[in-house]
Symmetry: C2
C-alpha cells in the first residue's frame, strides 16, 4: 500500500512538472492533456486517473506554484526576515525561468473572459496584498519612510514583482530582476537609501 501510494505521488509530481513545461510553452488555452501526458510518459487515460480534467490539472499547478509564494500564512511576527526572504525568492525565481514563464503566461490569460484561473488569481492577489501589507507594517509601522501606508504600498510591491518578471522573461540580459527588486525595496525605505 505504502509503495503504491509513493508510486502514485511520484507519478503525480511527473504530471505536474510536465504541465508546468507545456503551459510555459503554450499557455493554458494552448495546452492539451495529450501533450502533458506525452511529456510525462503516460497515456492520456493514465493522466486522467490522476487529474480528471484539464481544469483540475490547472488548479493543481496553481496550488503547487503558490506553495513557494508569500500567500497563505499571513504571519506578521516574522516579517523582518520575511521582507528579506522576498528578495531571496526573487533571486530564486531568476534561476527557474520555466516556472516564472508558466506563471506569467497564466496570469496574462487569467484576465480574458471566463478563464478558469481568473477566480484563483483574483483571490490570490487579495491575499498577497494583505500579507504584504502585514509584512510592511511589521517592518515599518503605520507609515513607510517614503510616506505611504502599508495598504497603499502593498499593490505596488505586488505590481513590481509581476511586472519585472515579464521584462526579465522577454530580455534576461537587459533586466537584472533581483537587483531591480532590491532597488524597489530601497525606494520603500527611501530615507535610508538616499
Amino acid at each position: 500500500m505504502a509503495a503504491a501510494r509513493a508510486r502514485s505521488e511520484a507519478r503525480r509530481a511527473d504530471i505536474l512538472r510536465a504541465a508546468f513545461e507545456v503551459i510555459a510553452e503554450r499557455g493554458y488555452r494552448g495546452a492539451s492533456l495529450a501533450a502533458v501526458a506525452e511529456r510525462a510518459g503516460l497515456t492520456q487515460q493514465g493522466l486522467l486517473h490522476h487529474f480528471p480534467s484539464k481544469e483540475a490539472l490547472l488548479v493543481a499547478v496553481l496550488e503547487e506554484r503558490d506553495q513557494w509564494d508569500t500567500g497563505g500564512t499571513g504571519a506578521t511576527g516574522r516579517a523582518a526576515w520575511r521582507l528579506d526572504l522576498l528578495a531571496t525568492l526573487v533571486e530564486y525565481n531568476a534561476m527557474r525561468p520555466g516556472i516564472v514563464q508558466a506563471f506569467s503566461a497564466l496570469l496574462g490569460e487569467s484576465v480574458t473572459e471566463d478563464h478558469p484561473a481568473r477566480e484563483f488569481f483574483t483571490h490570490r492577489y487579495t491575499q498577497v496584498r494583505e500579507d504584504l501589507a502585514g509584512l510592511l507594517r511589521a517592518e515599518f509601522g503605520e507609515r513607510l519612510p517614503g510616506g505611504l501606508t502599508p495598504e497603499r504600498a502593498a499593490p505596488l510591491l505586488t505590481a513590481v514583482l509581476d511586472g519585472l518578471q515579464y521584462q526579465w522573461l522577454l530580455d534576461p540580459e537587459a533586466v537584472d530582476m533581483p537587483s531591480a527588486f532590491r532597488d524597489f525595496l530601497g525606494l520603500l525605505g527611501a530615507a535610508e537609501a538616499k
Copy 2:
C-alpha cells in the same frame, strides 16, 4: 477614389476594433480570423483583403495600441509635462478596460514559446525603458530623490504600470490603478512625499 480610400480606412478601423475585442476575450492564440470577421460584420475573405494573415492583424493591433503609449518619440525636452502625462494616461486607461485587457493578455502570451508578439514586446520594452529613463532624467537629473539613477528606476516604473493593470483587471473594486500609480510617482520623488 478618395471616397473609396475613406471607406477602406473605416473598414480597417472596424476590423482593428473587432480584433481588440476578440483578443481581450480569448487572447491571441484563442482568437480566430473568423471570429474577428464576424464581429466586424465582414466575411473572412473581406477581412483577408485588409489583413493577409492573423499575424498581420496582430502586428496592426500592437502598433495601434502603442500609438497611445510613451514609446517612440524619446523626446526629453518636454519631460516635465510628460511625467504628469503618464499619470493621465493611467487614468485614461482606467476608463477603457477592454484595451488594457487585450494588451495584458498579449503581454502574458508573448512570453510563451515562439509567440509572434514576442519580438515586438522585447523591442517595445527596450524602447519604453529608454524613454522613461530620459523622462526621469529630465525631471530629476542624474539621481532621483530616492537614490536611484534614471536607468535603474525605469524598469520599476514600467513594472508598476504593467503589474497594476493585472491587479486592476482582476479586481477593479479593490485596486485604484490611477491612485496607486500616483503613489509610486510619489515614492520616486520621495524626498517631497515624506
